[in-house]
C-alpha cells in the first residue's frame, strides 16, 4: 500500500526518539520492542570523551629526571623526515662553533615545533633512534595568536618520562625495555 514505507520509517524514528529517555527504554522493553542505541552524544566540555591509549596529538620531548637531561641529541633525523617540515633544531655550540656536550651528548639549543603546521602523523616518533620524542594526547590547545602561542619552543615541549609513562603505559614499557637494553651494552 502506498505510504506504508513512510509510516514504517516514522516508526523507526519514533522508537529511536523514545529510546533516548530512561522511561522510554522501560516502556519499549515492556512492549517487547528492542530499544535503539539511546543517547549517544556527550556534553563537552563538561564531560570529556575517554581516548584510546594510542590517541596522538602533537609530539613532545622526553627528559629523564631533571628538565636539562633531555634524551634528544639534536641529530636532526626527525627534522629531515618530517613530511610537512614543521620541526626546527639547532644543536648547542660554543663561540667557536664546536658542539657543546652535556650529560655526555650534544643537546639541542633550539627545538621548535610549529603546531600550526604539524599534522600529528607520528613519523618523528617512528624514526627517532633515541626515543626522545613521543606523542602527547592534550588536544585543547586553541590559541589566540598563531606566531606566538602555536610555535612551541623547547621549554613548551618538555615533558618528563613519568608523564609519558602515565599517559601511555604500554608504549612506555616497550620504550623503557629498549632503553635499558641499550644502556647495558658497553658504549
Amino acid at each position: 500500500m502506498i505510504g506504508m514505507g513512510v509510516v514504517k520509517g516514522m516508526l523507526v524514528t519514533l522508537r529511536e526518539f523514545v529510546g533516548t529517555y530512561p522511561w522510554g527504554r522501560g516502556m519499549l522493553r515492556m512492549l517487547r520492542i528492542r530499544p535503539g542505541s539511546g543517547l549517544f552524544t556527550i556534553e563537552y566540555p563538561d564531560v570529556k570523551q575517554e581516548h584510546a591509549e594510542r590517541f596522538r596529538y602533537f609530539p613532545f620531548l622526553v627528559y629523564d629526571g631533571t628538565p636539562d637531561n633531555l634524551r634528544c641529541v639534536a641529530c636532526k633525523i626527525c627534522e629531515q623526515e618530517c613530511p610537512p617540515k614543521c620541526i626546527y633544531i639547532e644543536p648547542a655550540r660554543d663561540a667557536e662553533g664546536r658542539p657543546v656536550k652535556a650529560h655526555g651528548r650534544t643537546l639541542p639549543a633550539r627545538f621548535d615545533i610549529d603546531t600550526s603546521i604539524c599534522m600529528s602523523c607520528r613519523i618523528c616518533v617512528d624514526v627517532c633512534p633515541f626515543d626522545a620524542i613521543e606523542m602527547d594526547n592534550q588536544y585543547e590547545i586553541a590559541a589566540g595568536d598563531r606566531e606566538q602561542e602555536l610555535l612551541f619552543d623547547k621549554e613548551k615541549l618538555l615533558r618528563s618520562a613519568e608523564y609519558f609513562e602515565q599517559i601511555k603505559p604500554s608504549e612506555a614499557a616497550v620504550v623503557n625495555q629498549r632503553l635499558s637494553a641499550k644502556a647495558k651494552k658497553p658504549a
Binding site: K8, G9, I123
Partner: protein, 378 residues
Amino acid sequence: MADSTALASDLLEVSLGPQHPSTHGVFRMQTVLDGETIVKLKPVMGYLHRNHEQLGEQMTYIASFPFTDRLDYFCAMTNNLGLAIAIEKLAGIDVTERGEYIRVIMAELTRLVNHTAVTGFLLNDMGAFGTPLLYAFREREKILDLFEMASGSRMMCNYIRPGGVREDLPEGFLEQARRIVDDYPRFLDEFEALLTDNEIIRQRTERVGILPKELAVSAGVTGPMLRASGVDYDIRKVDGYSVYPRFPFKVPLGTVGDVYDRYYVRILEMRESVKILRQALKDIPGGPAISPKGAALTKAPRTFRPPKGDAYGRIEAPKGELGFYLVSDGSNQPWRYHIRAPSFINLTVLEDMCLGRKIADAIIILGAVDIVMGEVDR
C-alpha cells in the same frame, strides 16, 4: 489558456557552488537551464588542489603516507593500503600473514564507514535533513573509535605501511571489533526499514540519473557506481590482492543504473563487508604485524631506495579503483608519483546523467556519485 511553449524565454545560467552545501566541498557545477531542465552542465574543479603528486615526488616514499590520508578523508586506511601495495610491488616487499589480515579488516571497516556516510549524505541531499545522516554517523563513530584504538587517530590514520602495518593491534581490539561487526546488520536493517521502501525516496531516485552500462565502461567508471549499472567488476575479485581470495563474498549488482540502484548496491556491499569481517576477525593468525624489511624502512625512510623501474598498485577502494603509479629512478624519492582517483573519474559522466533532468535531480545525482573533493582535486 495561453500556450506555455509560446512564451518567449531565454536559457538561464546558474553557477552552483563552489560554496554550496549540496556540492560536497568546493565543487562547482556550471549549469544552463531551460526553465528547470538542465541543458548543459559543466563541472569545474580545482578549488582544493594541493599539489599532492608533486609534493610526493619531493619527499621519501614513507613521508607520502600521511598525505594520502588527506586524499579521501573518509577512507584514510584504504588510501594507505593503495600506496603500500604500490611500494611493495616496486621494491618486492613481502607482507606478513597477520599484516594482511589486519589490512583486510581495516579496509572493510573503511568500506562500512564510507558507505554508511555516503548513504546518509545522499538522504541529506534529498531533503531528509539530519535524521538518516545522524543515524549513519552514530555507527561511523563506533568504527572510528576502533581506528583510534589501532592507529591513534580517528580519520588521519597513517597506519598501513609497506610490509604490513605500523603497530600491531592493541589489546581488546578484536573483541570490540567483533562486537561492532556483529551488531552492524541490526543497524543496516533499521536503516533499510527507514529508507529502502520509503515512497518518497523511490519517487525521487528511481529512473533518475541513469548511467548505461556501455557509457560506464567506456568512461572508466569504477566502484559501486559501475556495479549499479550492472557490470560485474570488483578488483577484490579480479586481482585477488591481499588475502581476499580466501573470503567468500558476492559482488552485488544493480539492474537499471539509476540513483536508487547506487544507493541499494552500497547497502548490499556493506552486508558483504560484514561477512568478510566476521571471517577475518575469526581467522586472524598470530605472528608479527610487519615484515623485517617493512619495519626497517618505516624506521629509516631515507635509506629506502627501490630499484629503478615502475609499478602500478591498485585496490578496490570504497569509491572505486584507487591506483598509485610510481616510477623510481633508484633514489629515495619517487621520480613520478601519480594517483588514479576513483571519484575524479566517476565524476566525468556527471553531465551525461544530468541532461534532461530537473535541477533538483542534479543534486542527488551528484550525491550518489560519492565524491570527496580532497581526492578529486588532490
